[in-house]
């Protein structure tokens, strides 16, 4: 009897497995274009997101992040180009069932539904075996710190609670790809921090694509990203590549009264550090930029050398950063 039950409850999982395609990339976007009337919101974006990555879609308002995201989730159909999620078109719901979790932006939860029954309904539509639905729903509710919310109506939840319930439905059933559109928008810092921790906890277990305005958040969470502007990709790559953290370091220097910064900083000594290509001093921002050959030396070693020289020259240091920071990079590109 128990054996029979086991076979029955495992059947849908087997069914899901048979629909898996062996793919290298979790998401593959080729030349997608989306027009709304005469306005072109997305203009020929191509991206490849490797499995297991946490990938950010970055850009200012109107850059095409949410439109791209909506096409990835199958809400919108591109006018041109193709999208593959785990080897399938986003609208191939049956093939992607339970393998793709989506947190849509600004989609209200059904106000009359109770949190528990909403998640149970979602889990059943995902084909999670009947006997595993309740444990799975309880698990995600616990993950979002909402285990006492079962009987609350979705309409009565605060913005932060609703966002977390929406996140819970996206994480139901251990999906292979999770799309998160502005997961922390409008949340207070504490809840935003908690949501970030939930996302971080999933790192490595699945591919996560995050569209967000919050660049510090993306820099913290993502290991790769694409910067969009006016519907096009203006830069993409690993976070280290985007922020140039593997080939430049920046040191913020505190000026000393009555002493010129150029006289105080031993620029020549810095230029003689092995594999350093260039040293620049910005007198206005009091920032020292050290550019080096990334294949020959790593940023940490360069920082060590630079700080040693500066401290010996009694230069006061107020900050050190690898690369230019994502925010600066986005500001430069968009």
């Amino acid at each position: 009897m128990a054996e029979g039950e086991q076979v029955e409850s495992d059947a849908p999982v087997e069914e899901r497995k048979t629909k898996k395609k062996p793919v290298e990339a979790a998401v593959r976007i080729k030349g997608i274009v989306k027009r709304f009337g005469i306005k072109t919101a997305v203009d020929g974006i191509s991206l490849t997101i490797q499995q297991g990555h946490v990938y950010g879609l970055i850009g200012p308002n109107g850059a095409g992040k949410t439109t791209t995201f909506s096409m990835l989730a199958g809400y919108l159909t591109p006018n041109e180009g193709t999208i593959e999620v785990l080897g399938f078109a986003p609208k191939q719901v049956d093939e992607l069932r339970g393998r793709l979790g989506v947190l849509p932006q600004d989609a209200l939860l059904p106000s009359g539904d109770k949190v528990g029954e909403f998640l149970v309904h979602m889990a059943r539509l995902q084909n999670i075996p009947k006997d595993k639905v309740l444990p799975e729903v309880r698990k995600v509710l616990e993950e979002i710190d909402g285990k006492d919310w079962w009987d609350l109506r979705c309409g009565s939840l605060s913005h932060g609670m609703a966002k977390r319930v929406a996140l819970a439905q996206a994480l139901l059933g251990e999906p292979d790809v999770v799309l998160l559109d502005e997961p922390t928008a409008g949340l207070d810092p504490k809840v935003a921090y908690e949501v970030r921790q939930i996302i971080k906890a999933r790192r490595g277990q699945c591919t996560i694509v995050i569209s967000s305005h919050n660049l510090h958040e993306l820099e913290e969470i993502c290991n790769a990203a694409a910067i969009l502007d006016r519907g096009r990709v203006v830069a993409s790559g690993s976070m280290a590549e985007l922020t140039a953290s593997s080939h430049e370091v920046h040191i913020k220097v505190a000026p000393t009264a009555g002493v010129s910064l150029a006289n105080q900083i031993p620029l020549q000594a810095l230029r003689e550090i092995p594999h350093v290509k260039r040293v620049e001093l910005d007198g206005e921002t009091h920032e020292l930029g050290v550019y080096f050959e990334r294949r020959e030396i790593d940023a940490e070693t360069v920082i060590g050398h630079v700080l040693w020289i500066l401290l010996n020259a009694r230069v006061r240091i107020s900050g050190v950063s690898k690369g230019r920071g994502l925010e600066q990079r986005v500001m430069d590109l968009t």
């Binding site: 989730a73 199958g74 719901v93 049956d94 069932r97 979602m122 084909n127 929406a166």
Partner: protein, 278 residues
């Protein structure tokens, strides 16, 4: 998961949602109270008729009813329907006349409400869009059919309590009349779901659904007045005559037409819904 299982889950949720929402409860209560009130009125009219025709025997009354129904439905069908409790027949006619109003009020926000707040996006990554649409249509039909059944039950009980019909007669004719209302309801639900799903604003959906229903009725009336019978076929209630027929071919014609309406509108709606941006 096969599409039928998806539809089943959506329908289950629609039933739960509708019978628990304030709008659903109010509409159900109004339908039942209205039905009960109308039944009592019809029974009172029936009693008055009896009193004014006290000198006529039951057979003579039956013959008068048969003659009247024959004028509307034809001789054979008139004879067949003359055996039915008059109140139940009148209740059926009222139900299918008022049905579209109830359907429009019940179903106008089924899809447009989900589109307006984008809640639909939680579903479309889990169900085929066509299944979602069909589930909404079947859900609205199931709600209307359930309420109509409850309404019929009230009518049967009141009719039996007033001694106008026996239990056997109520169940036999009442059930038949309720079954007749189902395909007609399906046709109206199909049209309502198709029209209402084109808009993201529920209020606009409601207004356009009412307008569409009115236009359909108007075309039917114009067809009747001008003698263009083909125009009358656009009105689902037109097929009640066929559905009430004791002849199988006539009944099949009515059933086919109503289910054809429901099928065609649902297929069209599902096609549009599958292709549109959400």
């Amino acid at each position: 998961m096969n599409p039928l299982a998806e539809v089943g889950l959506i329908v289950g949720r629609e039933l739960r949602k509708n019978f628990r929402s304030i709008k659903g409860l109010i509409l159900c209560a109004l339908a039942l109270l209205g039905g009960f009130g109308t039944t009592m009125l019809l029974l009172w009219v029936e009693k008055m008729k009896r009193q004014s025709a006290a000198d006529l025997s039951l057979d003579q009354l039956h013959a008068i009813r048969e003659a009247g129904l024959s004028k509307v439905y034809g001789e054979e069908q008139g004879k067949y329907l003359a055996d039915a409790p008059e109140v139940l027949l009148l209740m059926l006619l009222i139900t299918i006349w008022v049905g579209p109003l109830f359907i429009a009020l019940m179903g106008f926000d089924g899809i447009s409400g989900e589109l307006q707040h984008r809640s639909v996006r939680y579903w479309t990554v889990r169900t085929r869009r066509a299944s979602f649409y069909v589930g909404k249509f079947v859900g609205s039909w199931a709600v209307v059919s359930t309420v109509t059944f409850a309404l019929n039950l009230v009518v049967w009980i009141a009719t039996m309590a007033r001694g106008e019909a026996t239990l056997a007669s109520c169940v036999s004719w009442g059930l038949r009349f309720w079954l007749v209302s189902l395909p007609i309801g399906a046709a109206w639900c199909g049209i309502a779901t198709l029209v209402a799903s084109q808009f993201r604003t529920p209020m606009l959906s409601l207004l356009v659904t009412f307008a569409a229903f009115f236009v359909i009725w108007l075309v039917y009336v114009i067809g009747g007045v001008t003698g263009r019978a083909w125009m009358m076929h656009i009105y689902p209630n037109y097929y009640d005559v066929y559905l009430l027929s004791p002849k199988l071919d006539q009944f099949a014609k009515g059933l086919g037409a109503c289910l054809g309406f429901a099928g065609a509108t649902t297929a069209l709606g599902a096609y549009v819904f599958t292709r549109r941006d959400l």
